[in-house]
């Protein structure tokens, strides 16, 4: 069953281009959305399956022969699979209306599903090389999706993204090769044990640096972030949402967490480096977001900044910090995809992404305005929305660990966050209606359904945060902490 997480999107992606020959719109819409519903059902089904157990390791077999491919489903993977399925579902709902005017919907869905398959695979695999493989699967699909509009900017952004990613992949591969060279193994458990028995700390440190470049670039941590503000805004809005909401978290944060916390073991040195990367990303990207006039670029910088929070929490390495980081990851996935989808609604309605050209659209697009406000306040960390709780947990964890300076900067950065989100709200939705947009209308039905769904989830997660944390986030954090404890002490540094 676990294999279905990878196989189902992949198979549907395979047949979609063929279906597209028959039905331009209806069948692709139906199939894509059905896939996500099935994935959601699977998450709940599997979640019930592993509840109470430690983790489920499934060995794949083909006609009775073991294939030496092992999939691991623990709390952490399940949590991430849930986020992917949930946000993916909202995105595919949104695409029903939004992707109409792009044409070749079937191809779009196919690429999107390949990306989803890549991400799901990445979340389930148990060895370093497989991580590399699925990372590339998701990445290749995303290159194509960024360039999906085929305009000048899209192609340039895609190319930049591809070239920087290739560098990152190269270093990742180099790191994996080095690890394999010294330990003779690739699966997490053996590598962890092999590294523990090893006495070459600088080599391992170098590998860690390679991994930080690789995953940090995927997660768009400053200074590895420069591709993101070009790539994310260039993609169609649903893909922007998927990239910012999911891909950077799965191929960046998840992979980073898995490798550093569960394989290498988070040593003080790594912890320090990760926390500094997090805090630098948080502040620098928030300041950059402030200077943007293009709504999607602003959101893209905001993503970098928020990933900074997540990495800060996880890099802290305390159970509470990890919990806060993971919770923020989930909340940010919801809120940021909501905001990117709304930026798509705005772009579709007005044809522009320039904030200065908008104004007073709240009167014409009340639902979009309100849902954007919910998303903005959530990310800025205004109670009682979900973002408030996760930021609070991170800050509390920082204070508990005695990292006062980090806590203070995190608070101040969230003020910056509120600042630029209010800028969006004021310039786009409040104030006098720009005469140009007198005939603008609210987004179409499915787009509205999707954004309202996400906004309600933001509110519900905020109000019932205790329930969300206990049923989804805590098992994930526990799994990470448990892996961390077994891996720790295995390394000399």
């Amino acid at each position: 069953m676990v294999f279905l997480f990878i196989a189902l999107p992949l198979v549907v992606a395979g047949i979609l281009p063929l279906v597209g020959k028959v039905s331009k719109k209806f069948l692709p819409d139906l199939l894509a959305n059905a896939v996500f519903i099935v994935l959601l059902v699977l998450v709940f089904f599997e979640g019930r399956g592993i509840a109470g157990q430690e983790a489920a390791v499934r060995e794949l077999s083909w006609l009775g022969e073991p294939l030496n491919i092992r999939l691991l489903l623990d709390g952490f993977s399940l949590f991430m699979l849930f986020a992917v399925a949930l946000v993916g579902f909202a995105i595919s709902l949104f695409s029903i209306d939004y992707m109409d005017h792009y044409g070749s919907k079937a191809n779009f869905y196919a690429l999107f599903l390949v990306m989803i398959a890549g991400m799901n695979g990445l979340l389930l695999v148990t060895d370093l090389f497989q991580i590399y493989v699925f990372l590339e699967v998701a990445a290749v699909a995303s290159y194509a999706l960024v360039a999906f509009g085929l305009g000048h900017d899209e192609l340039e952004a895609s190319f930049k993204y591809l070239m920087l990613s290739a560098v990152a992949s190269a270093f990742l591969l180099a790191g994996i090769v080095l690890i394999f060279g010294v330990t003779g193994a690739l699966d997490f458990e053996s590598v962890s044990q092999g590294l523990a028995a090893l006495d070459s700390r600088f080599l391992v440190g170098l590998c860690a640096a390679f991994f930080i470049l690789g995953f940090g670039l995927k997660a768009a941590l400053v200074p590895f972030h420069a591709w993101l503000p070009d790539a994310h805004p260039s993609a169609p809005a649903p893909i922007s949402a998927a990239l910012s909401g999911l891909l950077i978290k799965v191929s960046g944060v998840y992979a980073l967490t898995r490798v550093f916390l569960n394989v290498f073991g988070l040593t003080p040195a790594l912890s320090t480096v990760l926390m500094y990367l997090g805090i630098i990303s948080m502040v620098v990207a928030a300041l950059l977001a402030l200077g943007q006039t293009d709504i999607k670029r602003m959101l893209a910088y905001s993503s970098i900044s928020q990933v900074g929070y997540i990495v800060l929490g996880i890099g802290l390495g305390t159970p509470l910090g990890i919990l806060g980081g993971l919770f923020h990851l989930f909340n940010h996935a919801l809120a940021k995809s909501l905001l990117f989808l709304n930026s798509g609604s705005l772009q579709m309605a007005t044809g522009t992404r320039k904030l200065d050209e908008m104004g007073g659209l709240g009167k014409r697009m009340p639902v979009t305005s309100v849902t954007t406000l919910v998303g903005s306040l959530s990310i800025a960390g205004v109670p009682p929305l979900n973002g408030f709780w996760s930021k609070l947990i991170i800050i509390v964890a920082l204070i508990q660990a005695g990292r006062w300076a980090f806590a203070l900067i995190a608070v101040l950065a969230s003020v910056l966050t509120l600042w630029y989100y209010l800028l969006i709200q004021r310039k786009a939705f409040f104030g006098k209606l720009n005469e140009k947009w007198a005939s603008v209308r609210e987004a179409p039905f499915w787009m509205t359904v999707s954004t309202v769904l996400l906004a309600l989830l933001c509110i519900a997660t905020g109000i019932f945060f205790a329930g969300t944390v206990n049923s989804w986030v805590r098992p994930a954090a526990d799994a990470v902490v448990k892996g961390l404890q077994t891996a720790l002490g295995s390394l000399g540094f």
Partner: protein, 622 residues
Amino acid sequence: MTAPMLLLPILLPVAIALVVLLIPSRVKAVREVISVLASIVLLYFAWSFFTIKDLTWKVGWLGNGVDFDLRLYHFSAFILLGLAGFLFLIALYSTVKMKNVPRVREYYAYVFLTAAFANGAVLSNNFVPLIFFWEGLLLTLYGLITIGGKKDSNRTAVKSFILGGFCDFSMILGVAILWKITGTLTLSEISVKPEGLAAASFILMVVGAIGKAGAMPFHTWIPDAAIDAPVTVMAFIPAALEKLLGIYFLARITLDFFVLEKNSTLAIVLMTIGAATIVLAVFMALIQKDFKRLLSYHAVSQVGYMILGIGTAVPIGIAGGIFHMINHAMYKCGLFLSSGSVEHRCGTTELKKLGGLRQEMPLTAFGFAVCALAISGVWPLNGFVSKEMVFHGAVETGYIIFAVAAWVGAILTFASFLKAGHSVFLGPRGRDVPAVKESESPVFIPILTLAGLCILFGVYNKLPLKEFIEPILEGHVEAGEHLDFSAHALAVFNPIALISVGCLVIALLLHLYGWKKAGRKAYLASEPVHKFPVLKQIYDLAEKRIFDIYEQGIRFLKGLSGILFKLVDRPIDAFYEKGVTAVGRAFTGVLRAAHTGHYANYLAWSIGGLLAVAGIISLLLK
């Protein structure tokens, strides 16, 4: 009569207020009929209560000594009766005078709510319900002033609210201190010596009481309201109801809660407040050019006599003060109502435009004359009796200065009423006003009733003194002390009464002098005083509201907020606006400039980052 019947004077007016609110505006007579009938019913019950005089009703409420505790005894029954009487007269008067007011439904609702709150305040035997009702009066007063519908009505309403709120806050503070000292909130259980903290409580509660009664310096809304509020509101609230409540509470403070010693510091403070109020307010009253405004300053000035009387802390003074309270309520209500009658017919109350109305409005003129003579203390009206008692009390303390102040007040009071009566009813007929006729009977009946009561309480002063006043003092003077004030009340041939009569003569001469000097224009008769050196400068300052604590307070607060704005708010704002924003934008600018979009740059950053990370990791490994 059972104990829960005590709720009736509170709940019935509330019910009436709701009913009149529900009657649509276009339905005409019903509202008036209901309100007059209800006020008759209330008057009947007040009379019944007065015959019982002893009833308590108590239910637990919030715990901790906060009970809903009503107590009817002689004093509260007396005030209750007075309130009901004035409510009836005002309701009757309003049927004509307030008929065509735009917010007539609200007017009646507020009037009856006022009655409910006032009755509740008088009956309360626990400070918490007392304060509840006391505060409720602020709200209805606010509403009633705004019904005036003049340009500044809302402003004046706010002014009354803030001044009243200040006094009430002070009272609440005093009550809290008293609670701390005595450990109880029940009025009838409290009796402490005003020393130390209790003295502070005394002062604070006195501020609450005299603020309600409208003494200086908390009076400044009353002259404004005289112009901005309906005249019935003036006749009902500042003239009658607030005097009854304020002086009732002041008497309770000085007689019951605290034992005020004769000539103690606190007694002298009270007498000083009283004397100052008499003199300063009457000086202001003298020069007024508007009938209602003139009356309103007298409403302030006369409070001084009551406070002075109670402050003497000698039985005759206290009795005089309380007697003056009910007398003042009657004649001042009558005076305001007669000014309302003039306004009703002539459409103005400016003294300059009026004149010679005695022919056309004889009943109003008669009622006014009786009330004016009563307030001036002319023998044998009620004002003479109560003022003489206050004079006696003041002399008895040994501080003649207070008696002198009271006499100065008497001179100027009479002078100003000579001026007012002369300007309005005597002299040549004013040409600005067309021919008028006497007001309708619901207007002149209340005026004549009050005038009749003024005569009755003066000539047959035994009745009110025996029935109303003396029982209040029982238990507060030494046993066996003679408590008969009525025997010599009308005696003229004693030094004090002779001086009083002399004062009236001086006032008459002053008026005639001023009248002659102003070329026989009565409304200018006060000009000699107005233009007197030194006084003129003070008057000019007063006209600029220099002495108005509300205006000065507002000016002070505005100044303070201006200073805070400039010295604290703006710098902080500038810090955020210029400092934080500019720094943020500068960083943003630098960072944006770095993002050139060149692939090579970005790649270089990544590699640089890698080197940095690797370097730091190897550093940390050591």
